[in-house]
């Protein structure tokens, strides 16, 4: 039994010796400094460098770079705006249609179309462009072999089409989230009251999508503005500002001018970013967390012409996507340029002889980014959301910036910021890993913040109460509690690291070439077979890793939930 005398004498206390107390305090501050300082150093500072550099010339401060951009690059500037606007409108319409199409599927159709969406989401960039050239190019399977046409597809319409179909899935996913929030009972009772499906579409569904549509328009415009890969590959002589920056950068361009050109991308992106944040808040505020059917009970085939149109376009888009992926996988094993299918392992062998190390390196970096990135995101959001550090919202805003920063800006910013002592890391693996980590931070911190609200403050307080210092709280309460969020972050980090070009093409060095770079390089130089092999490998590897992580989590969950002990009723 408990010895009452001894209990009341209260002998053991948490040692209040100053050393361990200071270690805890210093550790806590160091960790906080690390995450907050990291965000400032690796997001804010590079952008600030671009800003400063744009006013730089041999004899000091100047606006001449801006004047140069306006006179020399005005064509590219207008082309960017033209492509951006066109893509943004087209892509938003297609995204709304496709999300309605997906959300109204049920049963096996739902499985098939969701699977298609997943494959698209894990795909590397430029696959649309590669497939486009293979199918509709000068020697395209469809245009040349099938229709005997000899057309030049390297122009603005190609860019707009490729950007549009590539940006649809991510937009559709976001819109699906909104559709899932629509109260199913509103739809069902409206139908009871005799509303036709097309009225429901007009009166209930579209109004609910409105903030999402605005966000789509904004995001797509910025993505199009920032995309330098597509125009570089299939734009031909039609160059947008972003592709012009990349092409000039590769050809030993003028970095002062490149900085000024980037400001023309950065400023509109930032303005749109703040508008986006405003609408995002609105979208999140009117959320209902009620559990309900995932599928929208709205029979499209009974919704008149509009319904049929949505079905038709949804199917057509899915068909185009299927064609695209088939063409990528086939191009990997088919001799490029052959009229009929001619099997070859040439490209696969080529990739494994010359590019195997690149693939391993990509995998290695992606794993490093995933592990450090998830930890970083958890700790960052803990300090900002839970500990309410001073100026937390400013740090949060900085951490969200990379979501909208064009890759050209982020890339050139990193080169400007980290090309001299004491922080000379250009050309190393470190700069790539850091860049990927911070590029992905906006999404991972969002995931962590959402999950953090599930950990009750009483858990933290209990730990402190029982004697845990601040670091012990992070180690014993926050990190274990955030395990599910960290897995989600891991998957996101891994997929993005394997499939995003972003600033990577600016930062790779001969010793740190990555698969995405090789993919771009092969596409750019017309080695479509090799490009297809790399693209296919990336897709397969990412799907494999995601599948493994998924299996692992469900295995762990199963083992936890159905323990050997069954629930027993109250004993007292």
């Amino acid at each position: 039994m408990i010895d009452r005398k001894k209990l009341l004498s209260n002998t053991e206390r948490v040692s209040q010796n100053t050393l361990s107390r200071y270690i805890d305090m210093i550790g806590d501050h160091a960790l906080q400094f690390l995450v907050l300082g990291g965000v400032v150093l690796f997001i804010f500072y590079p952008l600030f460098c671009v800003f400063l550099r744009s006013f730089h010339s041999a004899d000091g401060f100047t606006f001449s770079q801006y004047a140069k951009v306006i006179t020399e690059e005005s064509t590219a500037l207008w082309r960017s705006v033209f492509v951006g606007s066109f893509t943004s409108v087209l892509c938003t319409i297609l995204s709304v249609v496709f999300s309605l199409f997906i959300s109204t599927r049920r049963g096996w159709q739902k499985i098939i179309f969701t699977a298609l969406l997943i494959v698209i989401m894990v795909s590397p960039p430029f696959v649309s462009s590669i497939a486009y050239i293979q199918l509709y190019g000068r020697r395209g399977w469809i245009t040349y072999n099938l229709l005997h046409l000899n057309i030049m597809p390297y122009n603005q319409w190609g860019i707009i089409a490729m950007q549009t179909i590539s940006f649809v899935p991510i937009n559709a996913l976001m819109l699906n989230g909104l559709l899932a929030k629509i109260d199913r009972s509103v739809i069902n009772s409206a139908r009871d009251l005799g509303a036709k499906a097309k009225d429901i579409l007009k009166d209930v569904v579209l109004p609910a999508l409105k903030p999402g549509i605005i966000v789509c328009l904004l995001l797509t415009f910025v993505r199009s503005l920032a995309d330098y890969g597509t125009p570089a590959i299939i734009g031909g002589r039609f160059r947008t500002l972003a592709s012009q920056i990349y092409i000039q950068f590769m050809g030993a361009g003028n970095i002062d001018k490149a900085a000024a050109m980037n400001m023309f991308l950065l400023v509109p992106s930032l303005i749109l970013f703040f508008i986006y944040r405003h609408f995002m808040k609105k979208m999140n505020s009117n959320s209902s967390s009620r559990r309900q059917d995932a599928h929208l009970n709205l029979p499209l085939h009974k919704s008149g012409v509009i319904g049929w149109l949505i079905m038709g376009i949804g199917l057509l888009y899915s068909l185009i996507m299927t064609l695209q992926y088939s063409s990528i996988f086939l191009s990997a094993i088919n001799r490029t340029g052959s009229k009929i299918f001619s099997f070859t392992t040439e490209y696969i062998e080529k990739v494994f002889t010359y590019n195997a190390s690149t693939l391993y390196r990509s995998l290695l970096y992606a794993f490093i980014v995933s592990i450090i990135g998830s930890l970083f995101a958890v700790i960052f959001s803990y300090y900002v959301e839970r500990r309410k550090v001073r100026f937390g919202s400013v740090f949060d805003c900085i951490a969200t910036l990379p979501y909208m920063i064009p890759g050209t800006c982020f890339g050139i910013g990193f080169i400007l910021a980290f090309n001299s002592a004491p922080l000379k890391i250009t050309g190393t693996a470190l700069i790539l890993i850091i860049n990927m980590l911070f590029k992905q931070l906006p999404t991972t911190t969002k995931m962590c913040a959402a999950s953090l609200s599930q950990i009750h403050v009483a858990q933290e307080n209990s730990a402190r109460d029982l004697g845990a210092g601040r670091l012990a709280v992070i180690k014993d309460v926050i990190l274990p509690g955030m395990r599910p969020a960290m897995l989600t972050c891991f998957i996101y980090n891994f997929t993005s690291s394997m499939t995003t070009a972003g600033a990577i093409l600016f930062l790779v060095a001969p010793k740190t070439l990555l698969a995405v770079f090789k993919l771009f390089d092969a596409t750019y130089t017309g080695e479509y077979g090799v490009a297809s092999v790399i693209a296919s490998l990336i897709i397969i590897v990412v799907l494999l890793v995601e599948g493994l992580v998924f299996l692992l989590t469900s295995y762990l969950e199963k083992h936890n939930v159905s323990g050997t002990r069954t629930y027993q009723k109250e004993l007292w």
Binding site: M1, I2, R4, L7, L8, N10, E12, R13, V14, S15, Q16, R21, H456, A458, Q459, E460, N461, S462, A463, R464, D465, L466, G467, A468, G469, A472, D476, V477, P480, G481, R483, N560, G563, R565, Y567, K569, E570, L571, W572
Partner: protein
């Protein structure tokens, strides 16, 4: 006195939540803070536990000024309203968590943890995961966890509010027995008049951040200091047990 609060004040923004609160408590006694929801009970408890810093005033425990001490060094342990159990640890890991920081070796810690689990009637449950327990069992784990660090003062914030009525009555009796047996000093927060009257050695009645009356339940019942207290208590009668303790309270008919 063992525990003393002197002129404690706390506001959030321009809203004063606890206003010039003073009281004291002898060692080994149980004090109930009774008041309607939102009157500042949790805020008061959080200041005693070290989770909030009072704007002014002092808190003294066993002759030591603990006002500025952070929670991990305070010889105080809290049972939170939502328990705050660690879901990723099993029962015994939860109960022995605080012993990690007191340089007690693992074997002794587990032994002690099991003794306290025994005390709350959960000795068979030491390897269970938290979500395998019922609400009442979780409540007891939280209590065992707080007691296992053998604090000078134990704080309980509406610990029974998530339990059903029958279980609440049972837990009440057990808690009182445990507290008397071990001679632990406790501050217990509740908005339930009956719970307060039956558990307390002393009772304070709070209204809008101020202390209205502090005395033994019996004295408060006999001499409510003002009409607020008598109306808030709403007592018609008290049934006394053979040992001279309050057994049951009979409330006025609610309108």
């Amino acid at each position: 006195m063992y525990l003393e609060l002197e002129h404690i004040k706390k506001s959030f923004g321009d809203k004063t939540v606890v206003d010039d609160l003073s009281f004291s408590l002898e060692q080994g006694k149980l004090l109930c803070i009774l008041g309607s929801s939102g009157c500042g009970k949790t805020t008061t408890l959080n200041m005693i536990g070290g989770f909030l810093r009072p704007d002014s005033g002092r808190i003294i425990l066993d002759g030591q000024d603990i006002t500025e001490m952070t929670p991990e060094y305070r010889p105080v342990a809290t049972v939170f309203q939502s328990y705050g159990l660690f879901p990723h640890m099993n029962v015994i890991q939860n109960v022995t968590y605080g012993l990690k920081f007191r340089h007690i070796d693992r074997k002794d810690a587990i032994e002690r943890g099991e003794r306290y689990l025994d005390l709350v009637g959960l000795h068979e449950y030491s390897k269970y995961r938290i979500d395998e327990l019922s609400g009442g069992q979780q409540q007891r784990v939280a209590l065992a966890r707080a007691l296992a660090v053998e604090p000078k003062l134990c704080l309980l914030d509406e610990p029974f509010s998530n339990l059903d009525a029958a279980l609440r009555v049972k837990m009440r009796v057990e808690l009182k027995k445990l507290q008397e047996e071990l001679g632990i000093t406790m501050v217990f927060v509740t908005h339930d008049q009956e719970e307060a009257i039956i558990l307390s050695d002393f009772m304070t009645i709070m209204d809008q951040g101020r202390l209205v009356q502090m005395d033994t339940p019996e004295n408060i019942y006999r001499n409510p200091s003002n009409s607020y207290v008598s109306e808030f208590l709403g007592l018609k009668d008290i049934v006394w047990g053979e040992d001279g303790k309050i057994m049951k309270v009979i409330a006025n008919e609610k309108l």
